[in-house]
């Protein structure tokens, strides 16, 4: 890439920093330049987020329809999967799969609910009612 071809498009990162890009100058020598972003990858990141929003919405609907426990909603909301949740709570993946069923979730002890709530950064009340805040 030539120095003058470095894109300076809008990107989510440029609210905190420009990023270093490597390119060649007129004499063919490598140099670094700062870039505000590249529209091609901004779109890629936006697309990933649109998909995440969709997954959160789907999870929310499933919980409302009683097809899944609120764990599913918070897994999607916090961009986790069962392995990550297992790492944060110490529960086996198999156990978490059981707790994804509303009937099992409703029988959980206060202690277990606390573990999940802590992993998702919410209160137990928020966990049960699918209320969430930014982390």
């Amino acid at each position: 890439m030539k120095k003058e071809d470095i894109p300076q498009d809008d990107g989510a990162l440029n609210i905190i920093t420009k990023e270093v890009v490597y390119a060649v100058d007129e004499s063919g020598k490598y140099t670094t330049e700062l870039s505000t972003g590249w529209e091609i990858k901004t779109t890629a990141l936006n697309l990933a987020w649109e998909d995440i929003e969709k997954r959160i919405k789907n999870a929310q609907n499933k919980v409302i329809l009683n097809e899944a426990s609120p764990l599913l909603y918070f897994i999607e909301l916090r961009l986790m999967d069962i392995s990550i949740l297992s790492a944060y709570t110490g529960f086996w993946k198999w156990t978490i799969k059981q707790h994804l069923k509303p009937a099992n979730f409703n029988k959980l002890s206060k202690k277990k609910l606390n573990k999940y709530a802590k992993a998702f950064n919410v209160s137990v009340e928020e966990l049960k009612t699918m209320k969430a805040h930014e982390v």
């Binding site: 270093v20 890629a44 990933a48």
Partner: protein, 338 residues
């Protein structure tokens, strides 16, 4: 407390931490591209049976931690690396280092990295930054991808040092132990071993998922994505490929431009024209990766999307694999005698 520490921005976090930690002990010959090349940072792998963030598991660089390790090893600089089971002992050790005037590298997760924009905060646990001091409750942070220094409260730093999941940092701290004079001869040897190892990783690695064979394999797979995954999911997969290739840390073109810069800088130690020629080839490869990204974007934006468009996308990668294969073959035949 006053700290004699100069922040340095880099394209990639581990290159930046390596370069800057080496500077703190007086080793100033190592630039970001040299750290990347001596550490044999260039790679490609696609693991089709694994998923990351619901998309394909693709990487354009070597495993986290290896660039620092290999670069220090090549220069014969001893490394201190520590992991912790308790948060308290992790913080105590960090404070001891800082009180002794030793800036340290920390592996952290980005999900709770408060100064990152929300859109970038995934559960990715192999980010690297330097902690160089503490003021009140705030640790002074030099994150190489940032233009300026920043801070994290002790709670915030503890949280990212003890992020959980794949590649969990476990409070990991690392730094080069002692500085010494690096001779040009040692630089030459380090460059030679870095290139030879990278040749092995890219053209001699067994199996079909990694190295240049992995790139061609991915190209062939992409041609099937439209039929196998459906247009929506195929679009998401292509978007993930582009993010791994172009997002912060890569310096553009899936690290290929940084590698080209490395070969060019290597010429200062090894005046063999092959290095300059192959540097140009990697610039070309990086440009081809960027063209492939433009093609991919056409698809995931919905502007194009026929099977023929996926075929063109796949062919880009197959062609790139050929270009990079030839480049590494040329390097493998290079005469290292001066």
């Amino acid at each position: 407390m006053k700290y004699d520490f100069k922040h340095l921005q880099a394209a990639h976090c581990e290159n930046g931490v390596t370069t800057n930690l080496l500077r703190t002990i007086g080793v100033d010959k190592i630039t970001e591209p040299l750290a990347f090349g001596i550490g044999s940072g260039l790679f490609f792998v696609y693991l089709p049976f694994l998923k990351i963030n619901n998309g394909p598991a693709i990487a354009f660089r070597t495993m986290p931690g290896l660039i620092f390790k290999r670069t220090c090893n090549a220069l014969d600089i001893p490394i201190i690396r520590k992991k912790f089971s308790s948060k308290a002992s992790a913080e105590k050790y960090l404070m001891e280092c800082l009180l002794a005037g030793q800036p340290v590298g920390c592996q952290v997760g980005v999900y709770y990295l408060s100064y990152f924009p929300k859109q970038y905060r995934f559960h990715f646990n192999a980010h690297n930054l330097i902690v160089y001091g503490k003021e009140g409750d705030n640790y002074l942070i030099s994150d190489p991808v940032m233009e300026n220094e920043t801070t994290l409260s002790s709670y915030e730093l503890e949280r990212v040092r003890f992020a959980k999941g794949a590649l969990a940092p476990k409070g990991q701290i690392y730094y080069p132990q002692a500085g010494k004079i690096i001779t040009d001869l040692q630089m030459r040897k380090s460059i030679e071993s870095g290139i030879k190892r990278n040749v092995n990783h890219m053209i001699r690695i067994p199996g079909g998922f990694a190295g240049v064979k992995g790139i061609a394999f991915t190209g062939k797979r992409i041609k099937q994505w439209r039929n196998k995954l459906g247009e929506q999911k195929a679009g998401l997969y292509l978007a993930q490929l582009v993010r791994m290739q172009e997002e912060i840390g890569t310096g553009g073109g899936g690290f290929r431009f940084i590698y080209a810069a490395f070969l060019q800088q290597s010429y200062n130690y090894y005046s063999n024209d092959t290095l300059l020629e192959v540097s140009k080839t990697f610039t070309k490869a990086g440009d081809m990766w960027r063209s492939a990204a433009v093609q991919a974007a056409g698809i995931y934006k919905g502007r194009i999307g026929t099977q023929a468009d996926y075929d063109i996308m796949g062919d880009y990668l197959i062609e790139i694999a050929e270009v990079e294969k030839k480049a590494f073959q040329t390097l493998s035949k290079m005469n290292w005698k001066l």
